[in-house]
């Protein structure tokens, strides 16, 4: 990132290769839409290029990246985008070839689909707290700093989010 900051823009490609998967996974878990997540990843790296001077050089690059990704996602959610009215693509779990039991595989796929849909039904605040801590490995204090709230607020969002997920899943299965 230092080299990018000093004008070697081509080095952004290295950062992209290293972090594109994490960024894509974050956006995918938030949006549930592959195409939109890919657009957001591209947009994120343009934003990183534009605001490269804001990276202090100390602390973790991934924290800086996710803080920017979060802002980008919030802009995306708030934006009056008519495309957002359409439903996200239906979740299609990946095939697991080595699984010899098709019934078990189907059951797992169905569970994964329900979980994915339930996550999409949480409020943005709860969803981002769960996604950033559970999947992206950020500390509660880091998420709190990003969200400009207290660490306890983040813990509370995660707790309530988990309870809501359980409730949504129970209602789905009834």
């Amino acid at each position: 990132m230092k080299q990018v900051q000093h004008g070697d823009v081509s080095k952004l490609g290295l950062l992209y290769e290293r972090y594109k998967g994490d960024a894509f996974a974050y956006f995918y878990r938030c949006t549930g839409d592959q195409g939109r997540s890919e657009d957001l990843v591209q947009n994120l790296f343009i934003r990183m290029l534009k605001y490269r001077s804001t990276f202090g050089g100390h602390g973790e690059f991934s924290y800086w990246m996710f803080a920017m990704a979060r802002n980008l996602y919030i802009d995306h959610v708030r934006k009056k985008d008519p495309l957002r009215k359409r439903q996200p693509m239906e979740y299609v779990p990946e095939e697991i070839d080595e699984d010899p039991n098709p019934e078990e595989r189907m059951e797992r796929s169905e569970k994964a689909r329900q979980l994915h849909n339930a996550l999409g039904k949480l409020s943005e605040e709860k969803k981002e707290a769960i996604v950033l801590s559970r999947f992206q490995g950020l500390k509660y204090r880091e998420i709190a700093k990003m969200c400009n709230c207290t660490e306890n607020a983040i813990k509370s969002r995660i707790q309530r989010g988990l309870l809501e997920l359980k409730e949504i899943l129970e209602n789905t299965r009834v």
């Binding site: 823009v9 081509s10 952004l12 490609g13 992209y16 594109k20 998967g21 894509f24 996974a25 995918y28 878990r29 592959q34 195409g35 997540s37 890919e38 657009d39 990843v41 591209q42 947009n43 790296f45 343009i46 934003r47 290029l49 534009k50 605001y51 802009d75 934006k79 009056k80 985008d81 008519p82 495309l83 299609v92 779990p93 990946e94 797992r108 569970k111 994964a112 979980l115 994915h116 996550l119 769960i130 801590s133 559970r134 999947f135 500390k139 509660y140 813990k155 995660i158 707790q159 988990l162 309870l163 997920l165 359980k166």
Partner: protein
Amino acid sequence: MKDLSVCEEAQWELINTLEKEDFSPRDIDRLKERFPDCSDFIQEQYAMWSSLDEIQVPEPSAAMDAGFYRTLSSYSQVNNQPFVLTRMANYLDRQVMSWSSVTRWTGVAALFIVGLFAGRFLLGVNTPASIKNEIVHHPSSEEASTTFVGYNAEANTAERLKEIQEVRNQPAGNHKIYEALNHALLNDKNVNVRLSAIESLVHFADDPEVRKYLIHAIPRQRSPLVQVALADAMILLHEKGARDAWEELLQSDDVQHDVKDYVEESLDKLY
């Protein structure tokens, strides 16, 4: 499930435990031993937390990489070009200003004449007449281009991208190609196809009709990537006739803040 208030402390401890770097399932067992009345609740919450692993994330498509590297390339071009030109201009400025008045004017006149010849040579390559000759000398070009003119919006993304990229091998002057590219730019659902359509239109941008299409598209794009690509294209082409289109876009709600900044910086460079 226990009442939340009864297990409040247990919940708090559970959330703290899940964050530990050296977390292991044994920590959950310890927690259940510590809060026996909330054992089921702790187990349920932990099970929910663990089950989130089952949500799989697909692999991003190759189009994402293509779009990123295309944007990075045009960003580098746009941001390096003025830098080089500015350095050259500053150098010439310093040299010319250090000459005496007679030498200065002689030098300026010489530069003007050199520029005139260079311009004539460069523009001569792409004058409408020479394009016309190219078409006359390539009788198969119209036939080849008809495959693109039949641009199929229903084809898959890879095919549409391929069609749009291959059209750059066609000679200039085919208005059916321009119309098809314009159609793709305005209507294609995939952002990478639209970005590719911009690149192909820029390839043919000596034609005023093509520039008109690019300008026309500016206020009609909602994708930030496409908006940035159009701004880049306008700078590369030194196209100053798009001011109204940019203002229309900037006044709409369809522009993100950072794209707005980028477009405004681009316009500053242009005008």
